[in-house]
């Protein structure tokens, strides 16, 4: 199938894991809604035979929130990039986790804005070069699992584009898990970010992930910072039982029944 992604890009691999995860989960595809924002990863919504929504930059999660609250039977997956979800959409991301709304957010993290040609982003490691950080990124990046853990997510995992089986399993688990689930998928971006940071081929990034990934299931997310060329802690970090937004909403809404009209 022709697609818009560059040679060596990891988004297609993550999308493939998602499709396999649907099979693994046993969820009826008619009941799955896929919502994307803007950017390279945002284009995933256009390649799946599902109800799929390619929305505005950063606003996939609010759109998905409306879908879920208006039809609780839908299984909602938000599929977008690190810039879309954590920068322009960062406020929505933490509030969705705080509400523990039942949805799965798959965040493909390639450490930069790829579609616009490699600009610095909220996850760009300190010192990494991009077209708007030519001398090296001088900002501290978000540790997304740590952010989402503090915000209240029920399920958090991080894998890279080389951990395809683990990623597929994690996505399936996340889709079944009630509450807010967050999957970070570290992905190569060879033609732009990779080229500027000594990983010009997709394979270079894959070698890096292979050599530097450290699997620690149950790791404390605060120990999962990513530094330029440093180790990448991967695994399932959080899997906890908390009431979802829908549970709480119903518990409270029952008090409205039988009340006077005004």
């Amino acid at each position: 199938m022709p697609h818009i992604w560059c040679p060596g890009c990891g988004i297609g691999l993550v999308a493939d894991c998602f499709l396999r995860a649907i099979d693994r989960s046993g969820i009826d595809p008619d009941k799955i809604s896929l919502v994307s924002g803007i950017g390279c990863t945002g284009r995933v919504a256009g390649y799946v035979k599902l109800d799929s929504f390619h929305t505005t930059h950063g606003r996939a999660i609010p759109f998905a929130t409306g879908l879920k609250l208006a039809n609780s039977e839908l299984n909602i997956v938000v599929f977008s990039g690190d810039g879309d979800l954590a920068a322009i959409g960062g406020n929505h991301l933490i509030h969705a986790a705080r509400r523990n709304i039942d949805m799965t957010v798959i965040c493909v993290n390639n450490f930069n804005y790829g579609m616009t040609g490699s600009q610095v982003g909220p996850t760009t490691p300190f010192g990494a070069r991009t077209t708007t950080s030519r001398y090296g990124c001088f900002e501290a990046p978000f540790n997304l699992p740590y952010l989402l853990s503090a915000s209240g997510a029920s399920y958090i995992a991080r894998w890279t584009a080389i951990h395809l089986r683990q990623l597929e399993k994690a996505i399936a688990e996340a889709m079944i898990k009630p509450g807010f689930s967050f999957i970070e998928a570290i992905s190569p971006c060879p033609p732009v970010y990779g080229r500027m940071n000594k990983e010009p081929q997709g394979l270079d990034s894959m070698h890096y992930y292979q050599e530097k990934s450290v699997v620690i299931n149950g790791a404390d997310p605060k120990d999962a910072d990513i530094e330029l060329n440093g180790p990448i802690v991967v695994g399932k970090f959080v899997d906890r039982e908390c009431p979802t937004l829908w549970d709480r909403l119903h518990q409270v809404a029952s008090r409205a029944k039988g009340k006077r009209k005004t």
Binding site: P29, D30, K31, S33, V35, A45, G46, V48, K49, L50, D51, S52, F53, H54, T55, T56, G58, R59, I61, P62, F63, A64, T65, G66, L67, K68, L69, A70, N71, E73, L74, N91, H92, H95, L249, V252, A253, R255, A256, K257, K259, K261, T262
Partner: protein, 381 residues
């Protein structure tokens, strides 16, 4: 029983509360919003009422998210609304554009306050009229209604939902602080569910369904999430299949249809009220709270023997071009009072085309016009 929870009868209530009750009567079962003066009472009322009618109220983290959630709820098959004022209206422009592009039925209420920026949060304004028309980027057509009383905001909220479902377009209610915070008698009739308009549903199987294949009226039937149609929609320029097509031809077809589906149905959409215009040689053209004050000014002018009349714009967008054109060959002048420094007056002037004078009676906001100010303009012209 949810159905029994719909209010019917005569009540004394504010415009904001009447707006919420109009939405409930119109079948609205989802509201996402963010607190903002002077629209907060709509959210408060919806938070009480929606759980009683098996609907969902959610207060979002901002107005960007509120408008996004409203679109999502509509795509899940629910009638959905949000309400805000100027600063929040600005934030909603982004997802309003997506709503237009995806052709999403929903209602957005703007209880206008003094402006620009934070302006006069608790005081009246009508400065967002052009933003309602042009606020989101790009070429599009929108529907906006301007109620002048709590009764009208109740009635027009129902009309807004019906128009949005019929034309698959977000409909904006452009009210103002004076109407929102004024309390008056509101008569709420029983609105039979059968009398409400619902979006056209696909009449073909999922295999044959094209999300943006329009009917003869240029409006595509709409599938919703979870029904097995497995459709794709995007804010990118798209073809009938809903998939992105990056060509000038696809752009031409899409943008023309988005505009034409409203333009070609103007006679069904445009509403106005004429008072003593038959023999008038001066017409006051006003909307919202200002129309009620203009009515008093016209009465005072008549008492002085001046042949004045009132054209109250109820549908502000699309603009009542033909009506103004028609009246412009009959009258000497249009007097346009509005609580801004001249917005709708530009439209009146354009349509009058030099056949009649157009005089703005501006008011920067914070208080409504006095009837005397408008009368003075009538006498001077």
């Amino acid at each position: 029983m949810a159905e029994n929870q719909i209010m019917v009868g005569e009540y004394f209530m504010s415009g904001d509360v009447a707006c919420a009750e109009g939405a409930i009567s119109a079948g609205c079962r989802f509201f996402a919003g963010y607190p903002i003066t002077p629209a907060t009472e709509i959210a408060e009322q919806m938070s009480v009422r929606l759980p009683q009618v098996d609907g969902v109220f959610i207060q979002m983290e901002d107005e960007l998210a509120s408008m996004g959630a409203v679109l999502g709820a509509s795509w899940a098959g629910t009638k959905a609304m949000t309400a805000t004022s100027g600063p929040g209206f600005s934030l909603m422009m982004e997802n309003l554009g997506l709503g237009i592009m995806l052709e999403t039925p929903c209602v957005l209420v703007n209880i206008q306050r003094g402006d620009p920026s934070t302006g006069l949060p608790t005081m009246v304004g009508q400065g967002d009229m052009m933003q309602a028309r042009w606020g989101s980027h790009g070429s599009y057509e929108i529907i906006a209604l301007a109620p002048s009383s709590p009764q009208e905001i109740f009635d027009l909220t129902i009309v807004a939902f019906n128009l949005s479902e019929k034309y698959r377009v977000p409909v904006i209610i452009m009210s103002d602080e004076a109407v929102g915070h004024m309390s008056e008698k509101v008569v709420m009739p029983y609105v039979a569910p059968k009398s409400l308009t619902n979006r056209q549903r696909p009449r073909v199987s999922p295999e044959q369904y094209l999300p943006y294949e329009p009917d003869a009226n240029l409006i595509p039937p709409m599938a919703v999430a979870g029904e097995g149609y497995r459709f794709h929609v995007t804010g990118l320029t798209h073809d009938e299949r809903g998939y992105p097509v990056m060509t000038a031809e696809a752009q031409d077809r899409l943008v023309r249809r988005l505009v034409d589906k409203i333009q070609l149905n103007k006679s069904d959409i445009i509403r106005y009220k004429e008072t003593q215009t038959e023999d008038a040689d001066i017409i006051v053209c006003a909307y919202g709270i200002t129309a009620r004050i203009a009515q008093m000014a016209v009465k005072m002018a008549r008492e002085k023997g001046i042949r004045a009349g009132l054209l109250q714009l109820i549908t502000v967008w699309p603009f009542a071009e033909e009506k103004i054109r028609e009246l412009s060959s009959q009258v000497r002048a249009f007097i346009v009072p509005e609580i801004n420094y001249g917005q709708i007056v530009l439209e009146v002037e354009r349509c009058a085309g030099g056949r009649a004078r157009t005089v703005l009676v501006p008011n920067m906001g914070g208080e409504v016009h006095s009837p005397e100010t408008i009368l003075e303009a009538i006498q001077e012209v």
